[in-house]
Point group: C2
Chain length 385, copies 2
């Protein structure tokens, strides 16, 4: 085994946001030397890594030269230059997850096609190279209203996704390559985090239930375990595991799924990294998702994905009408509540719907946790002074 601990081994992380910041708690715990690249000089990862470099994650030379400095390279955001990653891989560098997986995932058309080829259940879709073709597809009846429009590239946190119900909705769409996906009549939005290491050791976390904010299209509550039948949960975990195997994925893979009215499980999309739907694991799981990712990409034995207690996660997003220096109103009030832990990402400026942090609520009793989570949501407010 490589000696990772208090040694001269170097782990590179592309992206220095909150996911990287939480990953660094784990590299600090293991005293693993880290290099972080991010365009923002005040990125949340700026401190706590060993070496911070400001630079463009989409720039070929920047990513390539950064990768040359480290022994293993990973990322905490998908929008990185995959061509530079591919070259690093050709030169023998370990890049986890790999560039091929990332390329497929970066493009929603390719991702969907991959599911189809691999016989992974997913909503039916048609791909269009531009808006004119999409309009043609609607006119010819190839696509029926309502449907879900997704830009094949650049979508993140609800951007690049729209539900199209009318001609007026179509008119508003940008002229880009896109897919039109069948609008699924679902009971639940679920997610399963899968972790796999290079030796093909594979584990899944329990299924979580997700609830989205209707306007911002950002996750509002993540509930673990999901309050669904064991049979459905097993099915979801198996499908998620199959997705990870299909990609021969190394590291974390968050698989978002729909549970349809008929109890079918359909894969919506995946994220090849620690994910919002796994934040509850910091407090609730034996091994949290960030430690698990580090274990996986360093080919260490995987940790225990079971929960110690039930966990619910509430996102802290900037309140509407506030832009400027952030203030977490009533944070002291929520800190009095049982099993409540706020996480502050370290962004000094708030703006409407910006992800500023999250709060985890843990309890032995999930319905108790759910009540407290609602109180948390009613109490804390991310404003500016």
């Amino acid at each position: 085994m490589t000696n990772y601990f208090s040694s001269d081994f170097k782990l590179g992380i592309l992206g220095g946001g909150q996911l990287g910041k939480m990953m660094l708690y784990e590299t600090r715990k293991y005293d693993i030397c880290t290099y972080v690249l991010d365009p923002n000089p005040d990125a949340p990862c700026r401190i706590a890594c060993d070496h911070f470099q400001q630079g463009d994650l989409m720039d070929y030379d920047t990513v390539y030269n950064f990768g040359k400095k480290v022994d293993v390279l990973t990322f905490e955001i998908e929008t990185v230059n995959t061509k530079a990653l591919a070259r690093l891989e050709r030169e023998g560098k370990k890049v986890y997850p790999d560039s091929k997986t990332l390329e497929k995932i970066q493009n929603k058309g390719k991702q969907k096609l991959f599911y189809k080829e691999q016989e992974i259940p997913t909503a039916p879709f048609v791909q269009f190279s531009n808006k004119a073709h999409l309009t043609e597809g609607i006119t010819s009846g190839k696509v029926k209203l309502p449907f879900v429009w997704k830009s094949t590239q650049g979508g993140y946190d609800g951007k690049g996704v729209s539900i199209i119900r009318t001609g007026a909705d179509i008119a508003k769409l940008p002229d880009t390559e896109c897919i039109a996906e069948k609008l699924i009549d679902f009971k639940n939005e679920l997610a399963v985090i899968v972790v796999r290491n290079p030796q093909n050791e594979i584990k899944t976390y329990p299924v979580v239930e997700m609830e989205f904010h209707p306007e911002a299209n950002q996750v509002e509550y993540v509930i673990c375990p999901a309050r669904i039948d064991d049979e459905i949960a097993d099915k979801a975990r198996t499908i998620a595991e199959n997705v990870s195997k299909a990609f021969t994925h190394v590291g974390l893979l968050a698989v978002e799924m729909f549970q349809t009215k008929d109890d079918e499980i359909l894969v919506n999309e995946v994220a090849p990294r620690p994910h919002n739907s796994g934040h509850y694991s910091i407090e609730a799981s034996y091994t949290n998702q960030f430690e698990q990712h580090i274990r996986a990409i360093l080919d260490l034995p995987l940790g225990n994905t079971e929960s110690k207690v039930a966990g619910i996660m509430v996102n802290l997003v900037g309140a509407e009408g506030y832009t400027g220096n952030v203030v977490y109103e009533n944070i002291d009030t929520i800190m009095k509540m049982k099993g409540v832990t706020p996480h502050i990402y370290g962004k000094k400026q708030t703006r409407p719907f910006r992800k500023m942090g999250h709060v985890t609520i843990i309890n032995e009793d999930i319905s108790e946790a759910r009540k407290i989570a609602e109180k948390v949501k009613e109490t804390i407010k991310v404003v500016s002074k």
Copy 2:
């Protein structure tokens, strides 16, 4: 309430060792700006704090000037210049725990006298200003062999403490101010961590059982909860709470105690900071000791001290016969074991008995955890390459 989160508030920490390092996980979680002072330029806290300053913790001017820069000052090691702290307090700076408490605790004679005055149960003792007086005390029969000799100052991790059984043992003692304490015939060594904030909100963690390495006099296992009767546990928690109240202590106070053969609880000594006996709390408790300390000194509501699961902590100390660049032999093997988390403090050089890290073992079943802890201890070895 002061706005601590992503604000211009500054927390100062005297000492940059492993306790500070683990405290910084929590300041990072809350995005609280930190200043750290430590004599070692490669201290474990060097990264992950906002501002690191190299300097002597016992130097009056260094500590005073460092303290002037911050809003609240705390420490992670007792050997700091208390006169500088006292001046900062007079000038209105918040120093938690305060200089008066620290002065009492730094001197074992004063600490014991304080317990006596406050009617806190502790082993009988006699204080001597030097070795000649001690010898006189033994000759005159004021002190009887065997007894526990403790230097009043500078003792830490078993240094400055000896069990004296023979004249030869006496001969080896240094010529310093000391106390001679009755050797207690105890069943168990216990510890309780108490946390108190300036508003007099006070909470205790469950009682832990400690087992010491016979030679190095360092803790080998810390077991939470202690496998003792509820009645004894309640008594120990009440006594620990009384010690914190007697000091009007703010922050964490680790109270080490003996359970005698007659089920008396006697206070041995205290540490006014996060403590080795509370490391299990990172994985096992609702609110770990480091977060709790931060909450207390910032006058935030205290967190839940209950455990989610049973926890056992094993110290990782340098193996005998090895000095040099550290290697954690078989760390991958212990990472396969259920509920096992290694913590690596980040000291690049090992030497015999040096505290290099610790391992936490958590499990719903404490006897299962105890078995795994033994396997951990048999498997991992801190050596050099």
